[in-house]
Amino acid sequence: MEDLLTIAGKGYRSRLLVGTGKYKDFDETRRAVEASGAEIVTVAIRRTNIGQEPGQPSLLDTLPPSKFTYLPNTAGCYTADDAIRTLRLARELLDGHDLVKLEVLGDPQTLFPNMPETLKAAQTLVKDGFKVMVYCSDDPIQTRQLEEMGCVAVMPLASLIGSGMGILNPWNLSLIIEKAQVPVLVDAGVGTASDAAIAMELGCDGVLMNTAIAGAKNPVLMAGAMKKAVEAGREAFLAGRMPKKLYSASPSSPTTGLISPK
């Protein structure tokens, strides 16, 4: 049976979700996204550039919504109201598409989530018919509350957005994973392939990243590495790792039939 990531009733083969920001140009964006194998891509919603030249290519031309599942985000929003307005615009822009990434930030330096505002926004958005995937702190009580409100996935940070610091608190992530009934995705903090593998080995259902790929010297190569890391981590999780044994070594080769028996 195929191992699918199911979000809001829809199955996805790829457990790697990628952002589309910070690339050199749309061509690099497209090549990196394709190398990552991601089916879900995040996008931001911004004011039209009033001086923009008509006929310039758009992101929607580069990554056609027919081929990818768009996940509009609320990056840059610091209040529940701004986040809600942004996602209503996104739904209008994407012809009624209602799968969204909610993030309400609390501080421009750390981009740490403002959880009271996040919870407030989530409540309104769920009532308004949105399928909410939510960026949040790695606090099992907050993620439980978001799940109870009807969010379709919880996405705790592993470390600060864009920091590349990796999985700083695997214990909290494990607490969240153990209790959650909705998919748990690590969103933010992954720096390199091993970080993604660790997240998946912990039992995360998926990983969302942007800077780890876009900020690499060779983003397309890193996108492929992340694809493999997420797959490897997932398979290792499903396989069930051997228990760690601190002080008792156990040889892998037969202990009998040695040429110099003890």
Partner: protein, 77 residues
């Protein structure tokens, strides 16, 4: 429909994406998009905090003091 004194008939000011914009004549949302070179583009419009669905771009007339937001999808994480 805004100030209606001689010489300024029909003239009105709106706020578009945070910037003041003077219009010589009353416009619909569709006409504003045309004026901005955005006709036929994938954009979404909010007027005074409320979404204006595509199906109502033609029938929605702008009024003086309206606050318009026109947005697109851009790269982001």
């Amino acid at each position: 429909m805004g100030d209606n004194f001689p010489g300024k008939i029909g003239r009105m000011e709106i706020t578009l994406n945070g910037q003041a914009l003077a219009l010589d004549e009353p416009l619909s949302v569709a006409a504003l998009l045309e004026r901005q070179g955005l006709a036929g583009k994938r954009v979404a419009v909010e007027r005074n905090g409320e979404i204006v669905p595509k199906s109502r771009h033609v029938s929605t007339q702008l009024e003086a003091g309206d606050r318009l937001e026109i947005v697109v999808a851009v790269g982001g994480g």
